[in-house]
């Protein structure tokens, strides 16, 4: 009866309310403490496990954290630019490390594209091409998967499950499978990224369609429009800005994804990055990192700008 002793001015019912409130608060506190304890337990367990199964222990390796950065310092700042633009290096000693003209892509006569710009273009093309493929198939699938466009629950369900499977499959597995069939190169990366993109864009698209205004659709139905006409004239004009915005968002994500796939053998700049790191070519590594940073920032900024122009300041969720 602490509450009544602390607040003697409360009436009988008031004290009851007060006591109930305190009970609730205590239970809430208990829950909070309990979930915090579980969280801390899980976290410390995870950290212990990660440290145990890592090849180097955290505390042992901590002093070496910046070794890699140290390795990256080139002997001459100009080396980075020479590596980036494939200019001959004065340090060329017969090793591949300083033989930058080695990778030049000649277009006509003496006009060439520096290797890393070409590889960057390849990565960008992988990203754009696979996003376009994803847009095309995701577009078609999303109309089949949307509740307000397809009344048949079986067809709708199948389209949705299909997209879920495409989305859930790890990209690296798809890339590995197609690498085995098509041999090394950018095309396996295109297939892997676009399969994932179809699933991701399709899901985002059909959610947009389900939120669309159905009045134009009703109008088209009233004048006897068929399914394709209803979709094309009733839905597409409404949802197109959002579709384009999601397309651009996905493009951003896919630029990163195609870099990663490249690093595991799918061609493009990612492959070059992994190779130059593993071979210890510091100037080349730095040149690629700078190029990659600039490209990712440029693509992000451009697509953010275009997205704002298309639909205004909407917050969009990324689907990984």
């Amino acid at each position: 009866m602490t509450s009544t002793t602390l607040q003697p001015f409360l009436s009988e019912t008031g004290a009851l309310v007060e006591r109930h409130w305190q009970e609730l608060a205590a239970r809430r506190r208990l829950y909070t403490v309990f979930s915090l304890a579980i969280l801390i337990l899980a976290l410390s367990g995870s950290l212990w496990f990660a440290n145990e199964t890592n090849s180097g222990k955290f505390l042992d390796r901590l002093p070496h954290l910046f070794d890699f950065v140290g390795d990256l310092v080139p002997r001459d700042g100009m080396e980075i630019w020479r590596a980036m633009f494939d200019l001959p290096s004065p340090y060329y000693d017969g090793s591949l490390q300083y033989d930058y003209p080695d990778g030049r892509h000649y277009i006509t006569g003496s006009f060439y594209i520096p290797e890393y710009f070409y590889k960057m273009a390849e990565t960008l093309n992988i990203a754009i091409f696979s996003t376009v493929i994803g847009l095309f198939f995701g577009f078609i699938l999303s109309f089949i998967a949307a509740k307000n466009m397809t009344r048949n629950i079986w067809i709708r369900g199948m389209a949705r499950r299909f997209m879920e499977i495409l989305r859930a499959f790890p990209e690296v597995v798809l890339a590995g499978f197609f690498l085995a069939i098509l041999s090394l190169g950018p095309l396996p990366a295109v297939i892997a990224v676009s399969i994932h993109t179809i699933g991701a864009l399709g899901k985002l698209f059909f959610e947009v369609i389900e939120n669309a205004d159905m009045k134009p659709d009703e109008g088209l139905k009233a004048v006897g429009g068929n399914w394709i006409e209803r979709a094309w004239f009733g839905m597409v004009p409404q949802v197109l800005p959002n579709f384009m915005s999601y397309f651009l968002l996905r493009l951003e994500i896919n630029v990163r994804a195609s870099t990663v796939i490249g690093a595991v053998g799918g061609g493009g700049i990612g492959e070059q990055l992994r190779l130059s790191i593993s071979r210890g070519h510091e100037a080349k590594t730095l040149a690629i990192i700078i190029l990659l940073l600039l490209t990712v920032i440029a693509v992000d900024q451009f697509s953010a700008w275009l997205r704002r122009k298309l639909v205004g300041d909407h917050a969009f969720q990324t689907i990984g």
């Binding site: 950065v69 790890p170 590995g176 069939i181 190169g185 994804a257 990612g270 990055l273 689907i319």
Partner: protein, 502 residues
Amino acid sequence: MPSLNAAEMERIAAGHPEIFNRSVWRRFQVPLIVAALVLYVFYAWWFFAAGKVFGEANWGIAGNYLADWVSYEIRPDIEINPDGSMRITYSRFDPIGPNPNPDWLEAKREIVSRTIEAPTTAPSTTAPSAPSSSFNFMAGASQQQAAPAEAARTDVRAEEVVTEALVHMGASRTAEIRPNEVVLTRNDERVTLTLDTTAERVTAQGNLPEWVEQRSPGGRVIAYFGLSGWAEISSDRVRVHKRFLGWANFVFDTNSAFFGKSAGEVASLVLSSEHLDPRQSNLSLAWNDFLYNPSWQHLDVWTKLLQTVVMAFVGTLFAMLVAFPLSFIAARNIFRNRPANQLTKRFFDFLRSVDMLIWALFFTRAFGPGPLAGISAIFFTDTGSLGKLYSEALENIDDKQREGVKSVGAHPVTVQRYGVVPQVMPIFASQALYFWESNTRSATVIGAVGAGGIGLKLWEAMRTNSDWENVAYMVILILIVVFLFDAASNALRQRLMGTKAH
């Protein structure tokens, strides 16, 4: 119904030219974009030389790899000796154990007297045979050859050998192998191949049906028996690839004492008190044999999978904890100091724009391959992403609650705690859950560059091109984990937000 007369209509049209006389771009926006995309697709097709790559692709092995996901092959190799005897061998790590005697391969054994070149008394005479023969070619064969021919003695002895083999390749599909001919049967079609060992030729009698393939006349013949496998017939050797549905040795490997036993037998062995291995009980032996099964490596796969989960969990949690205070500094409406806002925001941008892959490579160098690198990579990238989202959420809050708390004279920290945090907490938690979920997927990919987790294991299994059933096993495990995490994070999010998030 009111209507407009012509003059009024024209006046309206003149007053709003942007609606009635739109620019070419605005009128044909959509078809132009579509046309550009189509053109781009053609360009990309050329850029990637897609036609050429697809043309040269080995689609045949694609079928094999896909079949490998759910089935396995056993490859008996039937060698036909010049004297008509046969030798059946199995590849070294065959799924059916070291002493296979499968019932689908019937071997007819006979006792024959064979003339066998006795194992030479002095091994030194056989050893230099390869270089000497090349020398012979230059200097005339007969006289050099004479000496080792006399030295090699021949023995005649009776021995039981395989003289005929019958391979059942599924219902009404067989391959009968005799010393000088092979008869292939598929349903009601029969093909007889004559083997000529001395001329090294395989000749078919009659026309070949479409499931039997011979690329060059007299060369090796490949017979496809559909899903049950295929056989490759050369003049002195028949290689059979017989396919079985399922995953071989999933529980116990051929080296295990429990190999080839039924579930009941294993259970009774486990329960019996007689120890197969005197050092440990049968139960622990069985458990060990299962965990360290060399072809499936269950313990290793599970550890790696747990690493992936841990990487996503710890990385996102740390990112959330660091991004939380930093986002207050980055939010313009809360921390009224422009340089500090900008600095924090650019810091977030930096963390985000350096790709997770580069962070992963960097930390793999620092910590060595393992989950610590993955945790750090996820932590760095997600601090950037979450920080940006958090600070945007903070900039969108309702100011009234803060004013209320401020008006009663609260300390600035208390203002944030009671005026801001309750508003944004559900959004923060929900965003963190989204990232946790999507990171379980991306952790697989960065694992493939060495940042720990199941990615590398998956990648290695695919690179060898023969372990596609292991790939399938790991993919199923990953999909289960991703599915469970999706469900868990959705459930948690619904509780936090109160409503259904999606």
